[in-house]
Amino acid sequence: MSGSWQDYTRRIEELAAAQGLKFHPVDFEAVPDSFMMEIAVYGLPVRMPHWSFGVRYIYQLIQRHMGHSRLFEVVFPGNPGHAYLAESNGLAENILVTAHVLGHADFSRNNLLFKRCQEQVSERIVEHAANHARQISAAIETHGAQRVEAVLDAALALEQHIDVDVALRRPRYPEYAEDPKALVDDTFRKRFAALEPAAAAVAPEARRRAPVPPHPEKDLLWFLAHYAPELESWERDIFLAVREESFYFYPVFATQIMNEGWASYWHARLLREADFVPQQAYVDAIKCHSDVVRPVAAEQQVALSINPYHLGFVMWEKIVERDGLAAARGIMEQDDDFAFVRNHLTRELAEELDMFRYSARSDGQIKVLEQDLNALHEAVLAPKYNFGAPIVSAVKVRNDGTLELAHDSTVDGRGLDLERSRKVLDYVQRVWRRPIVLTTVNQAGSTLELTAP
């Protein structure tokens, strides 16, 4: 075996382009395993400091020592994209990983959800995140680690609570409620005003201040950044920095099955087509591929979770086989995991893949349930609803500054974990600086109020 993986990069890129993949250029860089692990922990190559990342870091370290997880690559979308490859990868692994990365690059450039979020966050999230980290280090210099940490405790605790259906940069709520009279037909109003000038002059005085928020607000990070009564500007910057990163993470989270499946499909396909790859490297790469996309760990019979690489890979293979590549590209562009799984995980496929639903009781008993395709879809998707978080909205700010939060239990059917929720309220209260009330439901389904302080 001769040559390094870089020698193959250009040819794999050309092959991918010839196969119809459309991607921004990607910068490849080989980095030490320790750095790979940090990228996995932080989600971005350079990110703000917070002790909670330290906890994840230790878990990763233990996992790695136990040989459970191995990272081959991490790729960041953008123009250009950044791909980090583990230095410990062999030649075959790197050839495979290069093809895989190009699959991701194609996906992130063409998938609508990715495109929409990327347009707002910018194509330079890696640099933005590094800037946020620098800005937060500067805040620590100025305001002290304790105060900055208190703000980060709150902001990162709410990192999933954004609203991707509204723009990243959005205006504040209108100051005044819309004048209901303005809706009345204009011609009539003009004629009426001509008849009764005194009545028309009354209108401006009737302007009412709009309530804040005018409607339940899901984007808690935005709401706190803009409406917390005594938030200082550096604190607002931290909230907005966390929020911007969340907008970046959302599509990665919400298209994981599709995205990993797409990349796996393409690394397998490109490898088959790549006649320039030496025979031995090809065999090694195929072995590596089958390790990555296998559904169940070698020593086990069943897995209690779904390997997104495997599920996505098999689904894309079926779709291409059945409807052709053009149709598959259409699906790739338009769907996210919810649509993808609900529309394309068919009964036959679920049976072929031996997928099942189970119920785990709190006493530890785990039982396989009857087959039911729709329920299976929801079981696969349940951890992904609403960025993986319960729906909590800001509903009102009382006259004394008390913030009312409400958990929408009609969607998820059960209440919040009270102990954790109280802790989150404590974090948020230190930033809101006024009392906070959170309504949720208890086990019996009746309304319950948590307050801080």
Partner: protein, 402 residues
């Protein structure tokens, strides 16, 4: 292999920043620091439990859970659905706590990530410092004066002295000063040399002896002994703050008394009745044989459930009075995990008499691990309130070496 070489070649020059600095380690250290702060804030509660005391070592191990950064989460339901993959038919039971009782597996909540525990190790000295600060415990007053120890202390300079005590820096300064004068020799002369001088100084009392006497009669339960052990442990730590060296003597008694080594002491359990005077006489014997009661700082702490034999009262009283006269402080801690009788026991009465007779003595009823700190505080506060009852013997004249 050769590709690794190639990559390294590419990076010659400045090392990449991520090779110099681990953000993960930085944030982990911050987490560690937060845990230590939290532990420190709850220290009295955490270490009141006897388990943390690490025999013999100068450290205390505190098991802690990793901190969790909280997010809004749904309540964990009684029954949760998930999706899996593999050869399984509807109705199959994949895990059953009733069937496979794995050793050490707790069943519920076993899948939680937060299960991981850390074992933090704290230096006992640090802990004691924090605690004394936290609980505002007074520092003990050593009996001043009677000290056998003295030490050489560096004090001043002289123009004559042993070669080994030559202070080069000082001598050189003298040379520089002298050279400033017109016509002075630029070389060192005897005039320039300065020698460090030593003086004999009396050291403050640095030595103390603590007698721990434990009732191990049949009525003392394991828990009682553990309470006593925890209490004794922190007493030793408190005294160590004051005295540079501390001798400990462990005496256990039932109807007779024995001296034990520290590890054995807390394992001992006996049967039969309680005759406190045997223990006290044993203490007396050791005190006279090994220590100098008039000059050493002696402390006695006695732990018992208080059920002394009634016929022993007179003898015990006499022995106790004799010991109390020679100790800095005599403490009695009544460990009765069953029912709290608040010192209304035979032994309790003995110490109450002792205290009312003006001796440096105190008693405390210790019923619960949470209360160990109360006991420690009680004794240390009491000890400092006692006025210097015993007049300090005249200090022996400092001996000068020839």
């Amino acid at each position: 292999m050769d590709e690794a070489g190639g990559k390294r070649g590419e990076k010659t020059g400045a090392a990449k920043w991520y090779e110099l600095f681990s953000r993960g380690a930085r944030d982990w250290l911050r987490h560690d620091e937060k845990i230590r702060e939290a532990v420190r804030a709850n220290l009295p509660d955490i270490i009141a439990g006897g388990e943390v005391i690490n025999d013999g070592a100068r450290t205390v191990r505190v098991p802690v859970r990793m901190l969790e950064h909280y997010h809004f989460r749904l309540r964990r339901p009684e029954e949760q659905q998930g999706a899996g993959q593999g050869k399984a038919k509807p109705g199959d039971v994949l895990a059953d706590p009733a069937r496979d009782q794995g050793p050490g597996e707790k069943g519920a909540g076993g899948r939680d990530e937060g299960e991981m525990q850390l074992l933090l190790e704290f230096k006992v000295d640090d802990i004691v410092d924090w605690l004394w600060e936290e609980m505002q415990l007074p520092n003990l007053k050593a009996r001043t004066g009677p000290s056998d120890e003295s030490d050489w202390i560096r004090e001043g300079w002289d123009r004559r002295g042993a070669r080994s005590r030559l202070d080069r820096r000082r001598s050189f300064k003298e040379l520089v000063k002298r050279r400033g004068a017109p016509g002075a020799s630029p070389n060192f002369t005897d005039e320039d040399l300065r020698f460090r001088q030593l003086a004999r100084r009396k050291q403050p009392a640095v030595h103390a002896v603590v007698f721990f006497m434990l009732d191990v009669s049949g009525s003392m339960s394991d828990r009682d002994r553990k309470l006593a052990k925890t209490f004794f442990f922190w007493v030793v730590q408190g005294l160590r703050r004051e005295y540079r060296s501390l001798d400990t003597v462990f005496v256990a008694h039932t109807t007779e008394a024995w001296e034990f080594s520290e590890p054995d002491f807390f394992q001992v359990s006996g049967t039969g009745g309680t005759v406190a005077s045997t223990g006290l006489l044993k203490v007396r014997e050791i005190m006279d044989a090994r220590f100098n009661p008039g000059r050493a700082n002696i402390y006695l702490f006695y732990a018992s459930d208080g059920d002394n034999s009634v016929s022993d009262a007179a003898e015990a009283r006499a022995a106790l009075a004799g010991i109390a006269a020679d100790t800095c402080f005599t403490g009695y801690v009544e460990v009765s995990s069953g029912l709290s009788r608040q010192l209304a026991t035979e032994t309790g009465k003995l110490f109450a008499e002792l205290q009312s007779s003006g001796c440096a003595a105190g008693s405390y009823a210790l019923n619960d691990f949470d209360d160990v700190w109360g006991a420690v505080r009680h004794f240390f506060a009491a000890e400092t309130q006692v006025p210097d009852a015993a007049p300090a013997p005249a200090a022996p004249p400092a001996q000068d070496s020839p």
